[in-house]
Every structure is written in structure tokens, then in C-alpha cells.
Symmetry: C2
Subunit: 687 residues, 2 copies
């Protein structure tokens, strides 16, 4: 019998040998195509070979240490960016692959995009080159201590001093302090500050202002500016999220960002033509979060699948005297493999969303804003659903790793802590569901008013509500488990359920319930609609990208069958999780419900043999995964033991020959009986 | 209009004013009675007043710092324990209230209990006083790098050397290293090591041995013992979980723990009479985890409720110009208030379990082991369900806190990371469901074989399966939403569902499916049975403790109504989450399902006005909560700002006048343009 270590390598090799497809064929899907993959692979190698980005001891570092390291990364990153002339997309990936927030993160991901979107042409010409070259290092200061993302409630004020042609930026209360602002605490010398614009006592609402906060000469705080780091947080610990108060800080009138609104020398305010255009930025970020969710789920699935393939526990095979690979237990498959399927589902909807966003951007240059609503709604709905799917799914997969899943060496904890923030930022997930539901509700009302109204394809199912009698008698047409593999049966079910929830929301509203009291209905409806979108995009996406025709080569055929098996799992699993919503109006029969349960088990069995192959297909490098449990070679236990060598508690300063720091002071007196005898334990104490 | 700070204090005062009951009346329930509360309150004061246990800067400390602090706590704790003669229960609470694992934790929670349970009378007499007085500091070394809790697969061996009357303890492989052992890494001088007992080449399976590992004189490692700390982990970061390998370490034959099995001087092995008695320890720990889950849920609910009562966002009241308290949104109530109800539900089942365990302990002294099975099954099932309920529920509540929920100052993160481990240790939650299901399956077979067999009350519902025709035609008898408030309607539903799942598991097994392939069925069934147990214990518990009779005083009446409102929420919410399982065989009609949805909303509305009152009733002190957001006085934003003052990144060493450490080296070159110009951004790079 081989040693456990060798057995692990044997197990993972056996898994790879039985894979029915070439995992590398899927990798470009997750890298955004062949060309992008080629370029990003170069960035990966650049980072892996540069000691500044070394992550081998990252899990041992506290916040201050990680911040110091990150500061060195900032400089090296900018040097490399300048040397190679990274595109913004390449720059973004560079930071993704570094896998630790560098504290200028918000300079490029928020400050620059906001300048590009909201500065006037003249302002942009002046400021953007300075910002692109890191002369200006900026942050985006919107959130306040007492206020989330509701611009209308901000307390920071910018009052026009017409005489001196200046704005006076002021934080009148503690709750008006700008808070949670990344890159503000230590790094930025400029901030785009959202403040209520006041002219002659009249409040024009929140507007963005470019405020210098630190000296360009020596980085000291400018007069009237008070800034501190806001303290430790879950995830992003190397970021310098800060808080700031402004005490009547003066900036030139021209420092208001004037692309959409303007204030003239004599204090006249002009308002924007299409106010919602000013919010394009958040939509863009939400779109990237969809892809980020897919890759994070893929990362969690990779580690969990590989470790569950080499971890053996429980049931013993009499012939081999080996315990089972835990990946062979349905209970483990059920908690790990759906995450894999959701990663695939999400990447296809990410492509769909990217295309819609590109189309929207092309349209607005022609003055056509017709896609604005859809882009907003779908980026909100998908962001809301997919980030939650990832946050919950990665944690569930981690719990399948047993005790070792609690070790930071597992590689499942640090990145998950970072990822958790996505459920809250750029629109809290539960709140975003209101956007989706309000939109669907409006379409429903349009349809009822005029059944010939035009709807975009993903909302056409709402027409089924026009004939109420026909709708309530709709029943799922599946006559066997096999029927549930048909796209028309699945879409009919997803459509029926979403339509019913739209109808119920409309009834609740009609009966006089206030909109804020309809949260739960919105959460359910948005999820239902988005789940349908994911399934449809997944179905269409694989047919667009993989050859399902009879003329396909055996290799192409296997590729298609593989991705189809993951698709089926996503569909059956999603419907099983939501089963009550298909049963509660009688749309599914009890027998159909039992087929769904049975279908989930079959799908798990179908995906299982290729699971390690799928874990390889995302193309993660070992250094990125930074995981003892999920590395490519399966040497999980050896890696755990090797990594412990670096633990600071094992260093000379903390332990020598087994004797811990503090032994003389804290332990020896106890062992030598100097803490007095213990006379308790007889059921009573002196308390 | 008051400032936001004053508004927060006003809001929380208003909430308290409208509470219909005296929160302090409930506090003894969560402290295990008046007398225990009195004693534990003294311990709380002792800790709060002792600088060694100060937690005001805990969120800033890295692992090494927290370990150093914890070492000082060890000494102080032992001094206080000796001075006051704490009972084991008081000692355990002391450590709960310290709220940071002290690295001798396992000495008292595992090493001593194992000695008490498994040492012979003679051994106990010799060893226990030494251990109680901290001359021996011990740990319990079972888990190995490659093996979880399955004793049968351990690789560590203890071979008898008859000649020298010694055991030779050896770790033959890397995967046999003892791993995850708390108190081993730095503190312990003794370990109870589980090792395969070998005599003359014959393997008698795993047995416990007392192995000296460090010198009692100077704490150095003894010959042949290799120990290291195992590295950073999620939760319990001040613990010294270690790994150990033994290289032919020799111990006297008498160091085998001989209460159940013995080996004589001439190498003759005697086996125990009732082998399962040896596992009593884990059952005891699982029982305490049920209460621990209740208190952890209560803690999360306290913080979330208080902050959601003072946090105002969104919908603006025109009259007051105030945004809504977020606790007024159903979407927030739905994610926070059920956690409160689960805390109550769990504490009542904790009492039930404690009583059963006490009865069991009383019985075995009389040689009656009839409760062994029930104690094992119910501690497993409740532990599995309640720890998951807590782990998921606390995180969901945290997500309702918005951005500030990511700050460690929220007080929702550190304790949750510690709590997360409970879903895995003392029996991984998914695995434990097999114990419950196997037990129910056996009872079912007993019943089918002999319908006159005797069942304990919580499994009597299995008799309904005897008449198959009657069972499949069972339908829920609720004729209105109001009927679902009746205990008989609820229990009938919970019984029917659990019985159906037992039947389906039995059919699956009968059809030849291997037991390990039935994980999913076991997970579902165990959950169904435990949910029923929780509801029944909750229902009975409040009637036992609170006066529901017509003769109750108004105060008593209000107390009863309050706890009943939480009970109703627990019931409706639980059934709604599991709705498909009541629908999928037609037991619930669509109309009944809609009443459940409606019922959940009504229950949330009923609990809402008393929510802050409930948050007060658990009796948590501010220093224990250690939360800027959830302190008693509601000053959330002020506390956040105050706490940031202590952040090490704001210290003189890291920042002066706004200028960060490393500015000259890393930032200035960028700002001064020394990193070269950026010529990218035109869509292509040199990659």
C-alpha cells in the first residue's frame, strides 16, 4: 500500500486519467478569449517571478505588515505598468492576480473612471494625465459614517463663495465624515468628494468636487483636512480605507466636476439633461462583479474538488483497504459540485452582460439611451444573485474540507473574506432586488395596458399574464424525469414561476401595501427572474461556443457533453433549491418534484468522474490559489506540514527547543505550584 | 432636528419605551437560572475589572500578539480559579466570557474530562490532582494529519515491549502526525494520545495513552518528541493548535488509560464490557455546543437588532424628514428576527438535552444504559442543526449591517469566526445526520416488525407509517391561517413530513442502495426530525416556565405573549424555509402554503415592536459584545469613530501629519514622476 502522500498523488492522477475532455480547451472561456489569455498569462508570470509580490508568507502577516508589503507592491506595479503600457483591463487583472488589495486600488478603479465620466472635456484634459501618471493619487469619497449610498441624504456640504469664486467644503457633523473610503487613509492626495451643492442657501443636491487633501510636495495633510485610517475590517486588510472630515476647506469653483451640471462664475447652476447618465460607473463595476463572482466560485470549486478527491475518510473498500475519496459521497458532491456549475453559469451571463454593456456604450455615443434601463436592471439583478451564490457557495464548499478547511493554508479563507464584501458594496444585494422587481412590475403594467407593447426577449414571458385564466391553469408538461432535460420544459417552468411572482407583487401593490413593505416579494421575484436569465444564457452560450452538431469531432463532442453535464446540474440544482415556488401554486405535481430530486442525484453522478478535470479547466496557477489543499499535484498533507515551518510562533523568538516565550513568567509558576492549590471541584465555590 | 448621534440614542430609547415586557425577566433563562446567573455575573465583573483580560484593542492584534496576551490570561485565570475554587462549570464560563481562547483551553475541556472518564480509579487518584493543579498541563491528541475522527484509521501505534514493560509510541508516516491538537503546540507537558494498541503483532485498535511530552522541570521537549505550532487558522487564533510526531517514545505500561480496557504485566489484553461507554465525552461536548449555539445566535441578534434600530436608510418620512429605521423593512426583519427566534428555540432544547443527559448519568451509576442511544442521537442531531443555524444566521444578520458590518468593530466578525468551527468539530454536521437517520430507520423497522413495540415519545409518530394507506392520504387540516397557530396542526405537519422521509429512506435502502450513497436522504431526514424536536421543546418549555393561565398577572401575561410571539416566528419561518417538503407529497395545499408565507410576515410584525427589548433580555454586557454597532446605548457612529483612534496604522510609527511610513521610498518616486511616463491606455500594450 502506498503512503498517504503517494496515494494522494496517485488519486489525483487517476482522476485526470479518467477525464473525458481536455481541460485546457475550456480555459480561454474563463480568460475572456485566447488573445486575452495570452496577455494575462504574461502578467501572471511577471508577478510570480517578482519577489515584491511573493505571497508565500502572506497568511502569517497582520494588518500593518500586509499594508507595508502592499506599499512596495504599489511602486512596483506602477513601474511595470509604465514599462509595458498596460491597458486598463490588463491593469485590473494585474491587481486581481496579485490577490491582495494594493492601497491605490481605488485610484484606478473609482477615481479615474469618475474623472473620465464626470469631468468636463477641459477638466479631463488637465486632470486625467496627472492622475494616470500618479502625480495625482485619488479616491472617491461618497459614503459617510451615517449614510450609505443614498446621495440625497449626504451631509457634507459645498457652499459657493461667489466673491472668492470658491467652494467651501465642510463636514458639519460627525456622521457626515466620509467613511470607508479606500485609498483615502494613507495614499491619496486628491479626493472626488460628493457633497451637497449650496448656492445662496439653496440646496441643489449631491455633486462631485475634486478636493486636494494632501500636499503634492510632501504628502502632509492640507489645512482643514482631518484623515484617519478607519480600523481593521473583514477582507481587504491591506487597504487604507479611511475617514475624513473637512473644516471649511476651500477649492476653486472650477474643481466641481462639470460634465453634467455646471456652475458659472456668477453662481448660476445648470442641471444635466439626462441625470441618470451620471450613474454609469456603478453599472460598470457591477458588470465586472459578475465575472469576478464566476472566477471566485471557480477558485473555491477548484480547491474543494481537488482536496475532496485526495481526502479519504469513512467507508472502507475491503479489496484495497482504502477509505473512500470523500468526493464519492453524495453529501459532499451536493455541497461542492453545484458551485462548479454556478461558476460556469455565471461566466456565460457575464459574457451576455458584457455584450449588452458594450452595445449600450456604442449606443450612447449616438445619443441612444434605450438600453440604459436594461443595463442597469440586469447588472443589478445578476450582481445581487451571483455574489450571494458565490459568498454562500464558497463557504459551504469550505465546510466540506473538514478540519483542514479552517487552516488559512487551505487557501479558502483569505480570498473568501475579500469576496464577502461584494454582497454589500455597489448596491446591497437585497436592495438591488427592488430595481429588478420595479422594472418587471412596470413591464407587467405596460402589458396589461397594451398587450401589443414591445418587450425585450428576456421579459417576453410576461405576456402570459394577459390571459389570467389560461395562466392559472398552466401546468408543467414533463411526463418523465427525462423531459426535464428539455430546455422548453425548463424555460416554461422558470417563466411561469417568475410571471406568477410578478402577478402577486402587482396584487400586493394594488391592495395598497406601501412599496417599502414589499421587500420580501421583491427579493423572491428578482431571484426568480435572474435564475431564468442564468439558465437561458448558459443554454445559449454553450451552443454558441461548443459544437453540439452531429458533425462534431469526438473531441468536440466530449467537450460539449462535459459542459452540458454541468449545465444540467445547474438547472436541476437551482430548481430543487426553489422547489416550493414551483409547487405552491400547483404548477409542479408531487411526482414531478420527485423527478427533480432524482435528477439532481443523476447530475451529480454525471459530473463526478470529470470533477478534477473541471477543476483544471479554469487555469488557476498554484501560486494564485496559494492553497495547501488545492494545489495541482494533490500533495495536500505534505504542503500543510511544510507551510507550518514558517509560522511565527515557531520562530526562534517565540519558541526554542519546545519552550515558549513567556514560560518563566506565565507557565513555570503554575507548573511549580506557585498559583496556590485548587480546592474547588466539589460542586461549590466561593462565588 | 437632533444630530444623527442624538437621534440614535433617541431611537433606542423609544424602542425600549414601547417594549411590552421586562427584558430582565428573561435573562435567567439564558444564564441557566437565578443562582447560576448570580455567580456568573460575579465572574463577569472579575474579568471586566482585570486589565489582563482587557479586550479594548483586541481587534488590532495579530496572531502572535494575541497569543502573548492569552498566555498572561492563563496565569491570571488559574490564580483566580484557585482563589475562588471555581466549579468546572464556572471555569468554563470564565473562558466563555473572556471570549478569546486561552491556550490551555483543551487542558480543562478535553484532557481532564478524558482522564476522569477513561483512567482507572488508581490512575485517576494519581493523575487528576496533578492535572487539576496545573502541574500536568495536558491535551488530547486524537486527530491526525491524514485522519479525522475515525479512530479505526489512526496510524499512530503503541507497541508493547513486554520485556521492559513499556509502550513504544511511534508515528510511522507524515500523515500519522497528530494534528490540530489544541494546547499541544506550546503549553502541554502531557498528551493523551490515541494510538493503535499492538501486542505481539496483533492490532487491538485505538486506545488512549498518557504520554509525557515536555520536561516538567524546564518545559523542553522530551527525547523523540517533535512538536510545532500548525499555523494560522480561522477562529481561535490565540490557541496553539499543534502537530506532533513521536519517534519510538517509551512510556510505562501503566500509562495506558485502563478504565475500560486493560493490559496486564504479561501482555494480556482485556476488552471493555460496553465499548460505547468510552465515547461519553463527545456527547457531553455536543450537549454544551447546543447551548453555545443559542448564546451565539443571541449575541448576533443583539448586535444586529440594536444597530438596525438606530440605522436609518432609504424611505423618508415626510413629517419628520427622517429616513426609516432599517429594522422597519420586512427584508431586514426577515434576515434578523428569525435568528432571535432560533436562539430561544435552541435554549429550550438545550435544557431538554441537559435534563436527558443528567438522567442518563444518573442511570448509568445504577448500571442502566438504556438512554445511551437517545443521548447520543439527540446530542448529534441538535448539535448538527443548531450550529449550522447559528453559523449561517449570524452571517446573514451581519450582511444586514451594511458597510459597517465589515468593520471588526461591528463585533460580528471575530466571534463568528470562532463559532464557525462548531459546524465541523465534535462530529462534522453532515456526518452526524447519519446517526440520527440510522436510529430512526431502525425504529421504523422495529415498528413494522412489531406495531406494539415501545418507542420514546419523540419518535412515537413513526407508528403512523404502519398503515400505509392511511398515511399517504394524510392531509394538513388547517382551514385558515389561524389554524397554523395551533400546536396540533404544526406537530401533525412536522410528524407527517419526518415520517415520510423515514419511509423514503427505508425504501431507498430496501432497493439496494448502499448506505454511503444515502447521505442526502439522511441530511434531509435528520433536519426534519430535529426541527420537530425544537418546536415541541419550545412549545413545552414556554408553558413550563411562563404563566399562560387566565390567572396570570398582566406582567406575567405580557411575558408569555412576548415569548409566544417569538415561538410563532420560529415555527412559521422554519416551515416556510422547508415548504417544499410539505408540498411535495400533497400534504399541504397551495392555499395552505400561501398562509405560511402570510404567517411569516405577521409574525415579523408581531415581534418587531419588542425587538430591542428582546435584544436586552439575553443580558450581554457591552464589554462582552465588544461592538461599536450593538452597544446598549445605541451610540454606533460615535463608537466607530472613537475606536479608530487605536488603529496601529494611525500610530506615530506609521503616520505623522498624514504622511505614511514608506512615503519617501514608495510613494514620492511615483508622485514625482520617477517611475517613468505612462504611455498605455490606447487599447494596446507591449504584452
Amino acid at each position: 500500500m502506498p503512503s498517504t502522500e503517494n496515494q494522494q498523488q496517485l488519486d489525483i492522477a487517476t482522476e485526470r486519467a479518467k477525464c473525458t475532455f481536455n481541460p485546457a480547451s475550456f480555459t480561454p472561456l474563463f480568460y475572456g478569449g485566447e488573445d486575452r489569455m495570452r496577455r494575462l498569462r504574461k502578467i501572471e508570470a511577471m508577478i510570480d517571478n517578482d519577489p515584491v509580490f511573493d505571497r508565500s508568507d502572506r497568511y502569517f502577516l497582520g494588518r500593518t505588515e500586509r499594508f507595508k508589503r502592499a506599499l512596495a507592491m504599489v511602486k512596483r506595479y506602477v513601474e511595470l505598468r509604465n514599462e509595458y503600457g498596460f491597458t486598463p483591463d490588463e491593469s485590473a487583472y494585474f491587481k486581481v492576480y496579485v490577490d491582495d488589495y494594493i492601497p491605490v486600488h481605488l485610484h484606478e478603479s473609482m477615481f479615474l473612471p469618475v474623472l473620465r465620466a464626470q469631468a468636463s472635456e477641459e477638466q479631463a484634459k488637465k486632470w486625467i494625465p496627472l492622475a494616470e501618471n500618479y502625480h495625482y493619487i485619488g479616491c472617491y469619497a461618497q459614503t459617510e459614517l451615517g449614510h450609505g449610498s443614498a446621495l440625497s441624504r449626504l451631509e457634507t456640504i459645498a457652499t459657493l463663495d461667489i466673491e472668492r469664486d470658491e467652494w467651501v467644503i465642510n463636514s458639519p457633523t460627525q456622521s457626515s465624515a466620509k467613511y470607508w473610503i479606500g485609498t483615502l487613509g494613507k495614499m491619496a492626495n486628491h479626493a472626488v468628494v460628493q457633497a451637497k451643492l449650496i448656492i445662496n442657501g439653496k440646496d441643489y443636491g449631491a455633486h462631485p468636487f475634486l478636493v486636494p487633501i494632501r500636499s503634492l510636495k510632501d504628502h502632509t495633510l492640507l489645512p482643514g483636512v482631518f484623515i484617519k485610517d478607519m480600523g481593521p475590517k473583514q477582507g481587504a486588510i491591506s487597504m487604507d480605507n479611511g475617514y475624513a472630515r473637512f473644516d471649511h476647506v476651500r477649492i476653486p469653483r472650477e474643481n466641481m466636476l462639470m460634465r453634467f451640471s455646471q456652475v458659472s462664475r456668477d453662481g448660476v447652476y445648470s442641471k444635466p439633461i439626462h441625470p441618470k447618465l451620471a450613474y454609469g460607473g456603478m453599472t460598470a463595476v457591477r458588470t465586472t462583479l459578475i465575472n469576478h463572482s464566476a472566477l471566485s466560485m471557480a477558485r473555491g470549486a477548484t480547491i474543494a474538488i481537488r482536496y475532496c478527491a485526495v481526502r479519504r475518510q469513512g467507508n472502507v473498500n475491503v479489496a484495497t483497504n482504502l477509505e473512500s475519496q470523500v468526493l464519492d459521497y453524495p453529501g459532499v458532491q451536493y455541497r461542492v459540485l453545484p458551485l462548479l456549475s454556478h461558476a460556469f453559469a455565471t461566466i456565460f451571463s457575464g459574457y451576455w452582460m458584457n455584450e449588452m454593456y458594450a452595445q449600450y456604450n456604442a449606443d450612447i455615443t449616438k445619443g441612444d439611451t434605450s438600453l440604459l434601463k436594461d443595463v442597469h436592471v440586469y447588472s443589478s439583478g445578476l450582481k445581487s444573485y451571483c455574489t450571494k451564490l458565490g459568498a454562500d457557495g464558497i463557504e459551504e464548499a469550505r465546510r466540506c474540507l473538514g478540519g483542514h478547511g479552517f487552516s488559512l493554508f487551505s487557501g479558502m479563507i483569505d480570498f473568501h473574506r475579500q469576496f464577502l464584501a461584494t454582497v454589500t458594496y455597489e448596491g446591497e444585494n437585497a436592495l438591488l432586488t427592488q430595481q429588478v422587481s420595479r422594472y418587471l412590475l412596470k413591464l407587467y403594467k405596460d402589458v396589461i395596458r397594451n398587450p401589443n407593447v414591445k418587450l425585450s426577449p428576456p421579459s417576453k414571458y410576461i405576456f402570459s399574464l394577459v390571459d389570467r385564466n389560461a395562466f392559472v391553469s398552466e401546468r408543467c408538461q414533463a411526463r418523465s424525469l427525462q423531459d426535464f432535460y428539455k430546455i422548453e420544459v425548463i424555460l416554461a417552468a422558470l417563466h411561469h414561476r417568475a410571471a406568477r411572482l410578478i402577478y402577486e407583487l402587482a396584487q400586493a401593490e394594488k391592495s395598497g401595501t406601501d412599496w417599502p413593505q414589499l421587500n420580501l416579494e421583491c427579493m423572491r421575484l428578482s431571484k426568480a427572474h435572474v435564475q431564468y436569465i442564468l439558465v437561458e444564457n448558459f443554454y445559449n452560450g454553450i451552443r454558441k461556443r461548443y459544437n453540439s452538431s452531429p458533425s462534431a469531432s469526438p473531441e468536440e463532442r466530449n467537450l460539449f457533453l462535459a459542459v452540458e453535464s454541468v449545465y444540467n446540474l445547474h438547472v436541476f440544482y437551482t430548481i430543487e433549491v426553489e422547489l416550493s415556488e414551483f409547487l405552491e401554486d400547483g404548477y409542479f405535481s408531487p411526482e414531478q418534484a420527485s423527478w427533480i430530486h432524482e435528477g439532481v442525484k443523476r447530475c451529480l453522478q454525471a459530473v463526478r468522474p470529470n470533477a478534477v478535470g473541471f477543476s483544471d479547466c479554469f487555469g488557476f496557477t498554484d501560486s494564485f490559489l496559494n492553497s495547501a489543499l488545492g494545489s495541482y499535484d494533490g500533495r495536500a498533507y505534505e504542503r500543510l506540514a511544510e507551510l507550518a515551518e514558517g509560522e511565527p510562533l515557531n520562530s526562534k523568538e517565540m519558541m526554542e527547543n519546545g519552550v515558549i516565550w513567556g514560560y518563566e513568567q506565565y507557565l513555570k509558576p503554575l507548573i511549580y505550584g506557585e498559583a496556590g492549590p485548587y480546592k474547588g471541584g466539589n460542586g461549590t465555590s466561593k462565588l
